[in-house]
Amino acid sequence: MGKPADLVQGTLDFLILKALALEPRHGWAIAKRIQQMSGEVLQVPQGSLYPALYRLERQGWVTTTVGEADNGRTVKFYALTRAGRSHLKRELATWDRLSSAIDLVIRTTP
């Protein structure tokens, strides 16, 4: 496994929300999901994941419940709130605009 790329600054929250779009997950599953969605390119910095989750909870975008992981251990599951879902939608739109703009800039031949 080659060294994965660092995350673009400030996109972790966005990726977490995206990772939760399908179903509630626990922390480890979120990290794995991001890794998997990015085709193993993006590696979540383990130390920032939980603070980011807490930040999102505090902002009201995710809620937590305690549930059982596959191996039977009790862990926290994170789920998108309605506000979180609409926030994600807005973020996606912004990201689309931004990334196509950046794309445009860097592909324009001088």
């Binding site: 480890w28 130390g47 505090r58 902002q59 975008w61 709130t81 309605r82």
Partner: protein, 894 residues
């Protein structure tokens, strides 16, 4: 931000606070799980277990730092910072314990006074009566203003003529209280028993806890041997017997069957009665001729739905006019001459009308005191905080935000006001207890006086409001200044901004003005009390013991027996050493104001003039000597007049002057009742005595009085009066024994010295005057402190300037005068403003004053002189110290 997001944010944050500990444990478990999962993955990829664990941990970074970063996130900033601010405030106040203690005490004292008075106001004026729809309850009474009878309750006839005949009332009933012997017939204790008409409880809207109310048949004498118990009587005397109905209790030796028990909370106004019996009356008492036979009972009624008080009033007037048409012997004209009317009043307002103005006055006074206290406190805190301008400026320069600084100030003020509020609540409770001991529980509805939840809640709210007001003022002046200027000012020794200084001067003016209002009010009330105490009541107050004897319901009830009883009693008492004279009277000054009609032979009233209510007394023994009522003409009545049943009488000077102006009253004759009768029924005037104050020491009625020998004016209830040469209190047991020696069944109640009766009569003047004096004393002290504070702050601020001027040769006297005038100018303005306000409050006080006008120059001058003395002293102290500032030292400081 959408509301849903707000909601989930709020829930997350609040939840985080309460769940913090549980969360930390869960987080640790989550991290553990995460690490294990990562390690497992590495192991599956072929890494050795030990190495996998190490790598996983390394990838994660420091676990503690993760935990900590989350703890920070879990905090709710507002709550956290309030906590911090409060801790900071507590520390900062602990550094200046003097200021903190002064502030808390000032606030506690003023708030305590306000709360204690409010507790009374709440019990007496605010709390609704404990009946359904209490506002629909009214009372009504007859008045004959032109006969000098302002209030004569209602007759039995009134009741039977009105009951069910006035559409404005859904229920109408009467009641009266009388003292009776209950239980064991040999007991000489009396207790109030309430006689009521059958619809009494229905009028009040209450239902009995058990049994039934009275029925109409039970209002006939003989058929009335039933009783309804209060809950307390049921518990105390019958051990809460569940089969109480049908048991009997003796009242005035007559056994009565229990037919009902009242609910535990039932209490009728201020009545202490525990037993309710039917108000039975002979059919002969219900006829039109008895319609105006005096206050037999008190009438209450419940307004029918939708009926206003005015409607009720006019319907009662219409009913009166209708029944007066069938009145006997042209009574209608006579009543018209007397100005007869029936007045309908709200029950509660009527019950508390005598104390309402006094209570409102006291509440206003306490409120003013509270304002003065708060102003003083704000002033003090402004001084204190201006000493910290530099500290604040420094902190701002170092990056503290305005919000943080305001937070500190707010926290300090809140802490002070909450402490003050707590101590003040304790003071208020103590105050209520003190007021109860000084007789506040004797006020109408005063028995329900307690320091309840409402009062405590008010105290808490007031403390918070005061804290907020002080914080707003102080914070404005602390934070508004630019940081640079604060540092600059402070370094130059200016400890207070110009604006703050000006505000504090305004505060002093306000304080002086308000305390001057209080002082004037206290001065006026004090002068009134003095005038009241100086009134010559027509008898000598000291060294007189009095007590009520009731022969009703005893074997002595027959008239001959009564006379013999009085002879033996006065004889045995007057033989005791230390007793000067003994007499009996049916009516004692200050124990009632019932008047009756007397007709003077040969007097032809001018057309339209009313018959006149006259105080009539039945006198036995040596009454005039015992009371030391001055005999102005002729002779006094003696024991022989009673024994020989002479048809003689003694009148007072008011009576003599009214009917025989410029003539000798002696040998004129008069009749009892409102009509002239046969000559052999006439009474010959044998003496004229000084008028006495019957209703109240302060009521100068000049209504006229006639004293008859006991057989003619007598009753089976009377007062014994003894003049003693030693302390009258020492004869209380002698009194009881003397009565018991004649008849062990006869009770003697209401034993009091005349001094005590006068004190009781003046209770509503004395207590408010004393409280007002106490309030204004505290207000004056606070004002002195406030004035002192402002002048000494001015001295401190100009210390350098004074030093330079003195170095240049200014005389100390000049400096002294400068600061003295600075302070006195503020006081003068305040006094002028206060004087103008006092004019207004004087008008409001008018009804409470006696013998002084609201603008009594002496009282106002006394207040002004006191104010001047105290504030001049307060200004002089810092002014003198200013003149002692050593110039060399000040210049060296620079």
């Amino acid at each position: 931000m959408t509301p849903t997001r707000w909601w989930s944010m709020l829930r997350a944050r609040l939840g985080a606070v309460t769940r913090r500990r549980r969360d930390a444990a869960q987080l640790a478990a989550d991290l553990e799980f995460h690490l294990d999962s990562y390690a497992d993955e590495l192991i599956r990829a072929g890494v050795s277990p030990g190495e996998a664990k190490r790598r996983a941990r390394a990838a994660f970074g420091s676990r503690t730092s993760v935990m900590e970063s989350q703890r920070d996130l879990a905090r709710v900033p507002i709550v956290e910072s309030i906590g911090r601010d409060l801790r900071h405030a507590a520390r900062s106040l602990r550094r200046s314990p003097g200021v903190a203690a002064t502030a808390v005490l000032t606030l506690a004292l003023c708030l305590g006074a306000t709360l204690a008075v409010f507790a009374i106001v709440d019990a007496v004026l605010v709390r609704p009566l404990p009946f359904p729809d209490p506002d629909r309850l009214v009372t009504m009474f007859n008045t004959y203003p032109r006969a000098g009878v302002a209030r004569d309750e209602s007759s039995i006839t009134n009741y039977y003529e009105r009951r069910g005949r006035i559409a404005a009332f859904s229920h109408l009933s009467i009641y009266r209280e009388w003292p009776a012997t209950t239980g064991d017939p040999s007991s000489t204790d009396r207790e109030p028993v309430m006689q009521i008409s059958p619809d009494f409880f229905a009028t009040l809207g209450v239902t009995l806890a058990a049994g039934r109310p009275f029925v109409d048949q039970e209002t006939l004498p003989g058929a009335d041997r039933v009783v309804i118990l209060s809950d307390r009587a049921w518990r105390d005397r019958f051990d809460a017997d569940p089969h109480i109905l049908g048991r009997t209790i003796r009242i005035d030796r007559v056994p009565r069957t229990v037919v009902g028990v009242l609910a535990p909370a039932f209490r009728f106004l201020s009545s202490e009665a525990q037993l309710y019996v039917p108000l039975a009356s002979d059919l002969s008492r219900r006829v039109p001729a008895e319609r105006h036979s005096g206050s037999a009972a008190t009438m209450i009624a419940r307004l029918a739905p939708g009926v206003s008080l005015d409607d009720a009033q006019s319907q009662v007037a219409a009913r009166n006019a209708a029944v007066e048409l069938v009145a006997p012997y042209g009574q209608a004209r006579q009543m018209n001459d007397a100005g007869f009317r029936t007045i309908v009043r709200p029950l509660r307002a009527d019950h508390v009308s005598s104390v309402r103005p006094v209570l409102l006055l006291l509440q206003t006074g306490a409120g003013l005191l509270l304002i003065i206290g708060v102003v003083n406190l704000t002033n003090l805190l402004l001084v204190r905080s201006s000493g910290r301008v530099k500290e604040f400026a420094t902190r701002r320069a170092l990056g503290a935000s305005g919000r943080q600084l305001v937070g500190h100030v707010v926290a300090e003020m809140l802490l002070l006001s909450i402490c003050g509020g707590a101590v003040g609540t304790a003071f208020g409770m103590a105050g209520v207890r003190l007021l109860t001991h000084t007789g506040a529980d004797r006020l109408p509805l005063g028995a329900s006086l307690s320091f309840g939840g409402r009062t405590a809640a008010l105290g808490f709210a007031a403390a918070l409001a005061i804290g907020a007001a002080m914080a707003a003022t102080v914070a404005t002046f602390l934070v508004r200044g630019r940081p640079g200027r604060g540092l600059h000012d402070a370094s130059r020794g200016h400890t207070s901004g110009q604006e703050a200084q000006r505000l504090r001067q305004v505060f002093v003016v306000l304080q002086v003005a308000l305390s001057f209002v209080l002082l004037v009010a206290a001065s006026l009330l004090g002068a009134s009390l003095n005038r009241a105490l100086a009134v010559a009541p027509g008898f000598r107050v000291d060294h007189v013991l009095t007590g009520r004897v009731s022969l009703a319901g005893t074997t002595n009830a027959r008239a001959a027996g009564t006379l013999a009883f009085i002879d033996r009693l006065t004889g045995s008492l007057s033989n005791r050493p230390g007793v000067d004279a003994v007499g009996v009277t049916t009516k004692l000054p200050l124990t009632g104001d019932i008047k009756s009609a007397v007709t003077v032979k040969g007097y032809v009233p001018p057309a339209g003039e009313s018959v006149r209510g006259t105080y009539t007394y039945g006198i036995g023994g040596d009454y005039f000597k015992a009371m030391q009522i001055d005999v102005r003409e002729g002779r006094a009545l003696t024991a022989e007049d009673s024994r020989d049943r002479l048809r003689v009488c003694v009148v007072d000077e008011d009576f003599a002057e009214r009917y025989w102006p410029g003539e000798r009253a002696i040998d004129h004759t008069l009749f009892i009742g409102s009509r002239a009768q046969a000559d052999d029924q006439a009474f010959r005037v044998v003496g004229v005595v000084a008028p006495v104050r019957q209703r109240s020491i302060t009521a100068d009625e000049r209504q006229g009085a006639v004293y008859f020998p006991f057989p003619y004016g007598g009753d089976n209830t009377f007062f014994v009066v003894a003049r003693t040469t030693v302390a009258p209190e020492s004869f209380v047991t002698t009194f009881r024994h003397a009565v018991r020696a004649i008849d062990p069944e006869v009770p003697m109640t209401d034993i009091e010295t005349m001094d005590a009766r006068v004190a009781d009569d003046l209770f509503l003047r004395r207590s408010p005057a004393l409280l007002a004096i106490a309030f204004s004393g505290v207000a004056l002290l606070l004002t002195a402190v406030g004035t002192y504070g402002v002048v000494s702050a001015a001295v401190a601020r100009q210390r350098r300037e004074v030093g330079i001027r003195m170095a240049l040769g200014a005389a100390p006297a000049q400096i002294r005068h400068q600061f003295l005038w600075f302070g006195l100018r503020l006081v003068a303005i305040g006094t002028l403003v206060g004087g103008a306000e006092a004019q207004l409050s004087g008008v409001a006080l008018r009804n409470l004053l006696f013998g002084v006008t609201p603008f009594d120059p002496d009282a106002v001058a006394a207040a002004a002189v006191l104010m001047a003395l105290v504030t001049t002293t307060a200004c002089a102290v810092p002014a003198v110290s200013a003149a002692r500032i050593p110039p060399t030292q000040v210049l060296a400081e620079e």
